[in-house]
Symmetry: C2
Subunit: 338 residues, 2 copies
DNA sequence: ATGAAAGCGCTAACAC
DNA sequence: GTGTTAGCGCTTTCAT
């Protein structure tokens, strides 16, 4: 590596003190414009580039934040990460990305590295925050904001979410209003306090409000993935009384479910209506396109980053637990029953 | 921030010199096992955590690498980023992720930040490497490896790719062997030296080898996105002589094209066969599932990271331009003509 | 085997 | 307004 230029070199070259050079680098007001020009020239001349590491060591702040996601490969996350990154750029932050596969051990390791690397804050996505993780957060003593992640109640971390129960309610209520009364659900994980439990709560509530008896046997537990949507739908199709509609707790599962239906020679929505959840691209691309609840994923990321920056700079925040609006979007997979 | 513990504190607590403490931290052999234990205890006692920033400043290496992608939101990239991250973890590296939207200006900015933050290497994905970018690379003077990116010939950066021309050839040859002779193509960008040009070259070559006349009017330029697949297929469907098969240069476009076909009331593959490219999940999920050329995206990321680490540590590398194998996978979207 | 000391490149306090 | 200096937390000679 060809010896790189330091501020000291710049100062010497410009014939000024190190302090002055630093001041112009940081645009400090109290510096004579002539000397400033001198330094600026020297910088250009020498092709100076500041060393962020050295700066960070001194000021104890790195302008980088850690982003922890279950798996960037899952359809839900890329959009939120993009929202984060775009927002981060506005504030001159960079992001270190870590995948955890929802594995607490990996979460811990990732947090350890991020801690050693002195990130200024953490954006965390999981199902919930485990006790270990919460401990690590407080121990790190930097701002954290959760995205689409249930806070273990006991804690009280800032967060960006949607109202999952209400969203599921809206989805099922929509089906009911379309005239459906025999509605199955393919749910998320029964132990997932973010996307699992609340969505079945919303399903049940909507049913009740529409005077439809809730039958737990009509709820099939999935894991958000394609195959579990496919397999569960196969089971549903073996029922004596096939439902006229099924509410699926993730778009990817909804696609799997739809495939099962189509492969059986049934039609969507003529024979069965399908309602998804998430607002993932693939659901729009599917034929027939799948009606769904869209989560504002990009905004979730962007808003989370925005909040985090405020927290880092100790600005006043009015609301540290923001609930963003979901949206029901009608496409081709649900039909009105006459 | 509660004053954090430094190595100096540890040394003092253990009653040893700072140097010794550093030595045990780095597992240096020449340290008496008793003193070592002393220091280790002190570390545990004080809950010491090394400061990677300080360390980096001293050793001039950060154990983090920069990853530059066009858009993490595009179906192609999450898998490669995941491959990168998993591989990076093996070597105790972290990744800083940057999106550029294929915009040279953004690429430059990203590289600037990464340079100031002293990343140890760069993994770069774009269409091609612009002159500015190449300059910046050499100026940064750290290892770079390109992934699925055409090197402007003039340069000679290490790279991980597939043989795009051969892959396209295989796809089209497959169609020919199925008996198709009227085959359109929806291509990538005509100015994209990575996924644009080579794939139409492969298409033409396969046609020739199968004694089919090449007609440039049968090549429709797309931009890899859904809508351009959809729109181009609409045009194709207005042809006097509709092709029996179309080769589409990206799965996402292939899905758009398929939608257009299905919406027109035609069937896949009975009326038209569709061949995609990329091996993206959505193509598998589509109904009918789309036959395609799969690019080993995860491996591309993992291998690239592996190569980068070797380059960083100045190990011997046998081949700095690795071409990974693509794979043709048959699904439901192509039929044999009798 | 271990301690002392220099220094990585920068910022900020302090003098003038 | 500007130069000098200390020091962020660490690694690494250089002595001993």
């Amino acid at each position: 590596m060809s010896k790189s230029i330091s501020l000291k070199d710049v100062a010497k070259y410009a014939g000024v003190g190190l302090g002055t050079a630093s001041r112009v680098l940081n645009n400090h007001p109290s510096v004579n414009s002539d000397t400033k020009q001198l330094v600026l020239n020297a910088m250009k001349e020498l092709n100076y580039e500041p060393n962020a590491i050295a700066r960070s060591l001194k000021i104890k702040s790195t302008s980088t934040i850690g982003v922890i996601v279950p798996d960037i490969t899952s359809a839900f996350f890329p959009e939120v990460v993009r929202g984060i990154e775009d927002s981060a750029n506005v504030y001159q932050y960079n992001i270190i990305l870590c995948n955890t596969d929802l594995n607490h051990e990996k979460e811990k390791e990732a947090l350890g590295m991020l801690s050693e690397k002195k990130v200024d804050g953490i954006l965390f996505i999981s199902n919930t925050v485990s006790e270990d993780t919460a401990d690590k957060f407080t121990q790190m003593d930097i701002p954290v904001v959760l995205i689409a992640t249930a806070d273990g109640d006991k804690n009280n971390f800032p967060s960006i979410t949607i109202d999952n129960q209400k969203a599921a309610y809206d989805a099922v209520d929509y089906l009911c209003k379309l005239g459906h009364r025999n509605i199955c659900m393919i749910s998320g994980k029964a132990d997932d306090p973010n996307a699992g439990i609340p969505r079945v709560l919303g399903y049940k509530e909507a049913l009740k409000d529409n005077n439809i008896a809730v039958d737990n046997n009509m709820i099939y537990e999935g894991d958000y993935n394609y195959i579990s949507g496919y397999v569960n739908m196969l089971k549903i199709l073996e029922l004596d009384r096939i439902p006229t509609a099924v509410f699926v707790a993730s778009d990817i599962m909804a696609i799997g479910a739809s495939k099962a239906i189509l492969e059986k020679g049934l039609r969507i929505p003529e024979d069965i209506s399908i309602m998804g959840f998430d607002g993932v691209e693939a659901a729009e691309f599917f034929y027939p396109s799948i009606s769904t609840i869209v989560q504002p994923r990009y905004a979730m990321g962007a808003v989370a980053m925005h909040l985090l920056v405020k927290l880092i700079s100790k600005q006043q925040v009015d609301e540290k637990n923001v609930v963003l609006e979901h949206k029901l979007i009608e496409r081709q997979s649900c039909k009105r029953l006459k």
